[in-house]
């Protein structure tokens, strides 16, 4: 079981690296926002795996909060994009 947990953590860390490449390269601001949303979703998964690894179920509350923050950040970015404002992609 420990090996499986380690493997899934490594895979998700690799996914975070790939998403970070898109954050750096992304040609426009909406692409970066999509990549950041994938970040928050992947971190929710990592926290879930860590909850299994450590045996502390309270980490799932942290996962709920992270998912909520990611959603609110996406909504806020979208409002910012549509309302206009100074942009420097």
């Amino acid at each position: 079981m420990d090996t499986v947990l380690l493997i899934s953590q490594v895979i998700m860390g690799f996914a975070l690296i790939l998403a970070f490449v898109r954050v750096v390269r992304g040609p426009s601001l909406p692409d970066r926002v999509v990549a950041l949303e994938l970040f928050s979703t992947t971190v929710v998964g990592l926290v879930g795996v860590y909850a299994i690894q450590s045996g502390v179920a309270s980490f799932l509350d942290a996962a709920i909060v992270i998912a909520l923050m990611g959603f609110l950040a996406a909504i806020g970015f979208a409002r910012f994009l549509e309302r206009g404002g100074p942009r420097d992609d």
Partner: protein
């Protein structure tokens, strides 16, 4: 037995997340990238939370992981819709192989007016029904 199911769920969920990241990196424009990340990452989180629920197998923890699943299922489409709409209106370029963009001929980005394509003189006439109140 339950260990094997848990391990399978964990590995599959993390592989779906990796798939979402690869799609985000490899696909050509904003909308295709979003279609990869939203669905695959949501499925990955769902599988991992199912594994967590099976691992702890207490009422409170199962309820919390199902709350996370329901939350992801409700918020992922909304966030994708909002970001896709904003990206379209900001003017992010579509892929050169895009077959159909039905919004472009019918939508005026300056006045935010959406035409249906049926605005003829014939359709603009009032056609009273028999049971109209006036």
């Amino acid at each position: 037995m339950i260990e094997a199911i848990k391990g399978g769920l964990l590995i599959t969920g993390s592989l779906f997340m990796l798939l979402a990241a690869v799609g985000l990196l490899r696909l050509p424009d904003l909308l295709t990238r979003m279609h990869a990340t939203t669905k695959a990452a949501a499925l990955g989180v769902i599988l991992i939370m199912l594994a967590a629920a099976m691992h702890f197998s207490e009422v409170g923890v199962v309820a919390r992981s199902f709350a996370i699943i329901v939350f992801i299922l409700m918020t992922a489409p909304v966030a994708a819709h909002v970001i896709g709409r904003a990206g379209y209106f900001v003017g992010s370029r579509l892929w050169s192989g895009t077959v159909k963009d039905e919004l472009r001929p019918n939508y005026d980005p300056l006045t935010h007016e959406l035409k249906s394509g049926l605005e003829t003189q014939e359709n603009a006439k009032r056609q009273p029904r028999a049971n109209d109140p006036d």
